[in-house]
Symmetry: C2
Subunit: 224 residues, 2 copies
Amino acid sequence: MTVDTFQRARRPEQKQQREDAILSAARELALRDGVRNVSLADIAARVGIHKSALLRYFETREQIFLELTAEAWRDWVDALHARLDAAAAGSAGLVADVFARSFSDRPLLCDLIAHTPLNLERNVSEAVRRYKQVSLGVVNEAAELVRRVQPELTLTECTEYVATMASLAGSLWQIANPVPALAELYASDPALAQACVDLTPRLQRTAEVLLAGLPASRGPRPGP
Amino acid sequence: MTVDTFQRARRPEQKQQREDAILSAARELALRDGVRNVSLADIAARVGIHKSALLRYFETREQIFLELTAEAWRDWVDALHARLDAAAAGSAGLVADVFARSFSDRPLLCDLIAHTPLNLERNVSEAVRRYKQVSLGVVNEAAELVRRVQPELTLTECTEYVATMASLAGSLWQIANPVPALAELYASDPALAQACVDLTPRLQRTAEVLLAGLPASRGPRPGP
């Protein structure tokens, strides 16, 4: 089907270029068609190489998408820094707004979050270990950022907040972005449309509830 | 591969028996192998019929699993009634405990919740419309139950609580139940095991946070 226009990469910078081209193709296809619908063959075709050539750079489809997920998490935490580093302590509304938008502005990250435990972590390999190290590091970094703006929360509570928001962003994004046929069903029947979700306000609202509930639900214990 | 031991069902009760046998087979396989790994051919083989015979009763794999999801939601709301109908008003701890266990006692429901928007609602048909009617009815029924025990919450807040808990149960169950190879990775590296989740206490804790946060995060507005 496709012609292998890639020369085999001999130098490290050539290898890096090939890998970047493959990741870019996977990113574009996943954003256009959804992670679920992108195969290794699709990615190879988009780059313009044979599948066998692609396999010189990535062992599996899962490895490619785990790499994109790690990259999306790093970009996400950079966006949190950009909006929270200079924030004054105390504004739960700001933290909720920053989190809601940090996810709803990143459809590929949200789509990937739902696919990670369900599909991407199944072919376990060194790639999963590397991915886990990145994602855990990002969650901890985000928790420390939240703690700086919400110093009345403990670091454990901030980690709970970040992990819960990430899980919800992944599952709610799938509900908020129905396939076209399901979107038509919602349009045809307002009673069913109640099952759909408007992502940004829903995430913002849940973030506010979590931030208010974390200190309010504390049992008797030593202070933070 | 298999012998069609089914006579074609001619009477309505025979048709019902066939459908029940197919649903039972799908339920058993999904509990044993995970929803993700069960194909239409697997279900037919388990019942002992040809795939073509199975297709007389269900159009698609998705239709079978949507039927199981609707059934699991009805069973779930029955369990809520059993523990909350006689509960005195006011106990957020009880509501949190009942919700956490209602999900962690139902692994198939949790697995199906994650697959519903991602995979099962894609072949839209009359089956999806019926499924949505059941699941929306169950969410509203559960919200009314919560409101009876937590009368200081509005019905909208109770619906938010139920929908958020359901989304989280679906995504956290997948994280709490890693494939064997990933479980081995966690066992080999305690730093990575932080990424895993203990489902029941995590759901209980989040339920408590949400119930405390819903009234605490209210802006100025008329009372419930």
